[in-house]
Amino acid sequence: MRWATRAGIHVDRAACAWLIRRFVDPAAEFVFVTDPADVPADATPFDMRGVALGHVGGDCSFETILRVHGLDDPVLERIGEIVHEADLDDGRFDAPEAPGLDVLMRGLSMTGDDERTLAVSGPLLDGLYEFIRRRLLLGREPA
């Protein structure tokens, strides 16, 4: 399936793309557009104005995708809180990881194109997932 989002991706869109590929559609192909009118007819848009998979009721797009696709996973829920704070920084969650994730993603977008940001952020988010999974299992910081 094809998925479309705005070019110049930052933390929310990078995390959404990772989420889609890992948990929704392993064969996902991503298209980056500068104008919302350029979204291909066969692509599902996300993190864009006026689409279903966008910011809804104060949630960031990552949280919206979790809800819409019924991804009931406490690890993903926690990553959603981190992405929320990295993207919106409205103090809704206590997420000390968020400022670090935000600057890493912004730095990536300064040094490469969107394809590369996705390629590099994927393994980072895989690592974040594993770290949080172990932390939830152990109930403390994993070694």
Binding site: R49, G50, H55, G58, D90, P99, D102
Partner: protein, 165 residues
Amino acid sequence: MAAVGEWVLLAYRLPREPSGPRTTLWRRLRRLGVAQLGDGVVALPADARTRESLEWLADDVLAAGGTAGIWTARPGTAAQERELAAGMAAARAEEYRALTGECAAARTAPAAERARALRRLRAEWRAVGRRDFFPPPEREAAAAALRALAEAAGDPVAAGRGSRS
């Protein structure tokens, strides 16, 4: 700087009732540190982030039954832009002064409370920094007050250093 910069504007109208969405919008605009140009018109220096932030707020306004539009604009004169920037810097200066005062008050608090205050005030410093587009001198005073509080709290890391995000 004689040339004026580009600004992104959100022009909106929101029904007076219910008041919930108005309050939420007001809080979010405040968090972004917008300049109020008029009734229902706010502005930020244009970049990808500020534009996106205002675009999402425009959607919130539409969802609440209002009307909203995003514009990019240039001030007609450099003087007008300076005035806008000065107003925004003054608003941040006020926040940095409050932060400085809170740091000073927390330095004499009991140890546990001091550590808690340090965490809270560091987060506050970052939040103010994110909406600080024209840093006033008060920023440095607040950074120094945070460092002093960090020392008093026995925190080895100097507060505020490089924490602008």
